[in-house]
């Protein structure tokens, strides 16, 4: 294996291959930064260009593009509260509040360094853990996927900045929206209101833009001013090196979130959109100051970005070893492999070892390239956005939002859906039901329903099929994780309440959670 790794490294150090990785990373970042153009869509657009290439450079280009696209999604999440890809949902939760505080440059640097660390750890996992982990992932049945989705839903307990009741209502609203369209099992057409375009369900990207971006655009237009500072006085004193040191001074969060990302990436169908939320929740749960999350906490950005880039390597594990794509973009890369006559499996590593390891090393080279490219491009973008007068910023965001919502299916109905969800989210936020739990429900709804119905169907031979959700060993571990994740924020609140009472807390500090 080490011989092949060495060969892969040498192949990547040629000028032509480095240029290819640079082009792939840069174009991926550009596509990822545009709301509406997901990594999956970008890779799909790129595939025809790789037809004329040999398999190795073609796959290297796709891999670098994928890595760059996942990272690029963080730019707009941080700067305008519009996650460029679903993998950056959690990045927006703290990235945008950092921008509002005048610390967007710090957030961009944090996202860059974290994406690099996550990308590298994902690749290391791919190199050393591929075969055993891929075998383990095969033990996950529908019941386990149901519990994975429920584990994701428990994040609501920590996402709810106000009351848990309203957070749960937001999550259920998201789950309900996820049931619109054709059922994932059985094929029922549900809640389409006689609109054929709704048969495909609520499209995720227009929904993300609506739920996160439109309320901000409404506020900007109505106030005619922005909350964010152009540059805050303290921020000017922070050099790039200091910011990088600050981020690297959080090794536990970086490594833990990257491992979470790689592990979630291995589960077929989960991917970066789930990994960033799970890592964010874990970072908040284990933080000494969880109350700062959602208000501009850099650890939130670090967790989300390291996890989503780690899914790139993690998702490749089942793709290359079993032929089961870990994430949607992996499915396209799998298609390209098959197109070139390469069959995934243990045999692939033996017969085409040189190609496989060149591809794997290219992912690592791409992660390294993201640092200088991202620091220049990302910080340039940040300065541009911050310097833009608000009367041009708001319509520019609206233009991007409209294109982003429209581009996925070339459908005006998607733009209507985006606006309707955005206005509804703005109004719901007034009564304390925020957009983040709704997004969580929307993302996890399909996984949860598929797991629930398939789990019952495959156990139909058992007297009470639903009991299989509580008897399988991996399910039991996942249930324990769900319970811990759900009650942990409440325990933390109680502890904080006790220590505040003990220390003679101020009334405002105690008011925080009445749920």
């Amino acid at each position: 294996m080490f011989d092949l790794l060495g060969q892969g490294l040498l192949a990547n150090l040629t000028l032509s291959m480095l240029l290819l990785v640079l082009v792939g990373t840069l174009s991926g970042m550009a596509i990822g930064a545009m709301p509406g153009l997901s990594a999956t869509m970008g890779i799909a657009l790129l595939v025809p260009f790789t037809f004329a290439m040999d398999p190795t450079p073609g796959l290297v280009l796709l891999g670098a593009f994928y890595m760059g696209a996942i990272y690029g999604g963080s730019f707009t999440a941080i700067l305008i509260n519009a996650p460029g890809t679903p993998s950056s949902i959690a990045t927006a939760l703290d990235g945008y509040p950092l921008t509002k505080k005048g610390r967007s440059e710090f957030a961009i640097v944090g996202a860059t360094v974290s994406s690099f660390v996550g990308g590298i750890i994902g690749v290391i996992a791919l190199i050393f853990l591929a075969p055993p982990l891929a075998q383990f992932a095969l033990r996950f049945g529908p019941q386990e996927y149901f519990w994975v989705a429920m584990f994701g839903m428990t994040i609501i307990a920590s996402l709810s900045s106000g009351t848990l009741l309203k957070g749960l209502m937001g999550g259920l609203l998201g789950l309900l929206l996820a049931t619109m369209g054709i059922a994932p099992v059985g094929g029922d057409v549900r809640f389409t209101f006689d609109q054929s375009l709704l048969q495909g369900g609520i499209p995720l990207v227009p929904a993300l833009i609506g739920l996160f971006t439109i309320p901000e655009v409404i506020r900007l237009i109505a106030r005619r001013t922005r909350d964010a500072e152009v540059v805050d006085a303290d921020q000017q004193k922070d050099s790039l090196l200091d910011m990088v040191k600050d981020i690297l001074g959080r090794p536990l969060n970086l490594i833990k979130s990257s491992i979470i990302g790689a592990a979630v990436g291995i589960l077929p169908g989960a991917g970066g959109s789930v990994a960033n939320l799970v890592a964010y929740n874990e970072a908040k749960r284990s933080s000494k100051h969880p109350e700062t999350f959602g208000k501009g906490e850099i650890d939130g950005v670090v967790a989300s970005e390291s996890a989503n880039n780690a899914t790139v390597g993690g998702g490749m594990i089942p793709t290359l070893t079993l032929g089961v794509p870990g994430t949607p973009p992996d499915a396209i890369i799998l298609g390209v492999l098959l197109l070139h006559g390469l069959r995934p499996g243990a045999e692939l590593f033996e017969t085409s070892g040189s190609l496989v390891y060149t591809f794997i090393i290219a992912l690592a080279v791409s992660a390294v390239m993201m640092v200088p490219v991202g620091l220049v491009a990302g910080r340039g973008l940040q300065r541009g956005v911050m310097a833009l007068p608000v009367r041009y910023l708001a319509p520019s965001i609206a233009v991007l939002a409209i294109i982003g919502a429209y581009a996925i299916r070339s459908s005006v109905v998607d733009v209507y859906i985006m606006l309707a969800l955005g206005v509804a989210t703005y109004l719901l936020a007034l009564v304390g039901i925020e957009g983040a739990p709704i997004v969580l429900g929307l993302v996890l709804g399909v996984i949860a329903e598929k797991g629930l119905v398939q789990g019952i169907l495959v156990s139909s031979g058992v007297d009470m099929p639903w009991t299989t959700f509580f008897t399988r060993p991996i399910s039991l571990v996942l249930i324990a994780m769900c319970v811990l994740s759900a009650i942990w924020p409440l325990i933390q609140k109680r502890r904080a309440g006790r220590s505040n009472t003990g220390a003679g807390a101020t009334p405002s500090a105690v008011q925080g959670g009445n749920d």
Partner: protein, 148 residues
């Protein structure tokens, strides 16, 4: 004293549940298992929120800190709705330039001069045009065209 925010929020989500409930039309055995469970849970929580609004006196259901003036909110909603609704007719390019410029002019905090309007129009043409060219020529994404 009741809490109007929670009452309004609770009734709004109850109405949402009702709209979905009357749309139920399942054809397979398990087609309604998940959505019905979600609908019932959401309805129960909505009722709890209403009850909270009626019974709990000292809870702030409205987020007063983030509220906008009625005029500001009306301006924002009118501009966005008009822009989106006119999209199939005016297309991306023409509609984009018109509403971008209109938004920029209306967001000025001082009375705009003709020079200001010309500047805002030029910025609108540049921004909307650059995005149009990038998406249609570079990324081959089709955008709505003028149909008048």
């Amino acid at each position: 004293m009741t809490d109007m925010g929670n009452i309004v929020g609770g009734f709004a989500t109850l109405l949402f549940c009702l709209i979905f409930w009357v749309q139920r039309d399942y054809t397979s055995e398990y087609g309604g298992l998940f959505p019905d469970a979600v609908l019932i849970a959401l309805a129960v929580l909505s009722l709890l929120l209403v009850a909270r609004g009626v019974l709990w006196r000292h809870e702030s259901g409205w987020d007063w800190t983030g509220r906008l003036t009625f005029g500001g909110l009306a301006r924002a909603l009118a501009l966005l709705v008009a822009w989106v609704v006119s999209l199939p007719v005016l297309g991306y390019l023409i509609g984009g330039i018109i509403f971008f410029a209109l938004m920029a002019v209306l967001m000025r905090t001082t009375r705009p001069t003709w020079k200001n309007v010309a500047l805002d129009l030029a910025v609108a043409v540049a921004v909307v045009g650059v995005f149009y060219l990038a998406f249609t020529r570079l990324l081959f994404v089709t955008l709505p065209e003028l149909t008048l």
